[in-house]
């Protein structure tokens, strides 16, 4: 029994109940993606959580780079091979809406 057994995911693997998300869960979700969370990761995750709280939607990559003060290069290094979905999944949010 792990933390991941207690969450509700949709068919695409995104969490659907925001209240189920915790910081410990984020670490477990990240580990599943092969990522060990550092402060730089948390800066991005916290920004995404705050944005989603305000707007109701997961931010796009461009919103993350301009809003969280992280460069495109660093964002792709922190969350390699598909940061758009990985960041949203680890942050317990839905699929980002928007193209940029």
């Amino acid at each position: 029994m792990t933390l991941l057994d207690n969450i509700t995911l949709n068919d695409d693997g995104f969490m659907t109940i925001p209240a189920e998300w915790t910081e410990e869960l984020a670490a477990a979700l990240a580990e599943k993606e092969g990522i060990a969370l550092t402060d730089a990761h948390w800066n991005v995750i916290n920004f995404c959580r705050e944005t989603a709280e305000d707007s109701g939607a997961a931010p796009t990559l461009r919103q993350i780079t301009s809003g969280a003060g992280v460069t495109t290069k660093d964002l792709f290094k922190l969350f390699p091979k598909g940061p758009a979905k990985k960041v949203a999944k680890i942050s317990g949010l839905g699929k980002p809406e928007g193209c940029v």
Partner: protein
């Protein structure tokens, strides 16, 4: 055990109009965000997107563009187009270009130069077409830094084996 090959999408950009610059940039960015490998080959007028002198001066012309309607400017004119005769008036392309740039900016879409840099930073591989580069006499120093190198059509075929190819 064989390792599963990552999905790979390749765009051939052959147009230098402002409106035709964006499809590959937007789809390429989306692909990179989803972990898909991206290759972009710039040929003919598409080279305008990656040359220092042209990238900030891309335009859209209302002449002979049947999709250009007055209603795009928020006027209640339905399907009424901008007559071609008006499109040839000096300044109309500049106006249409200004208008499109304003609309894109309002949506948070970056200018082409910045977009190319974003794609490069995100790991897209970008190449110039050798034949066009020779024909237009473009030098290495004319390119934006994002361009990896100038390659032949055959090189492009080699590097996109198994990829999905989109021609724009």
């Amino acid at each position: 055990m064989t390792e599963e090959k990552n999905r790979h999408i390749a765009f051939i950009c052959s147009k230098g109009d402002l409106d035709m610059a964006y499809p590959a940039l937007i789809m390429g960015w989306a692909a990179l965000g989803d972990g898909i490998d991206v290759t972009i080959f710039f040929t003919f007028w598409g080279l305008d997107l990656v040359t220092e002198k042209r990238v900030d001066k891309l335009e859209i012309a209302p002449v002979a563009n049947t999709s250009f309607k007055m209603s795009m400017m928020g006027l209640p004119t339905g399907n009424w187009g901008i007559p071609n005769i008006m499109g040839i008036i000096p300044g109309m392309s500049a106006f249409a270009t200004w208008f499109m740039k304003m609309k894109m900016k309002a949506l948070g879409v970056p200018p082409v130069r910045e977009y190319i840099e974003m794609l490069s930073d995100a790991g897209a591989n970008m190449y110039g077409c050798k034949m066009t580069v020779d024909m237009f006499d473009i030098k290495d120093e004319d390119f934006l830094p994002a361009i990896d190198s100038v390659v032949t059509a055959s090189d492009f075929m080699d590097m996109t084996e198994g990829a999905q190819i989109v021609f724009i």
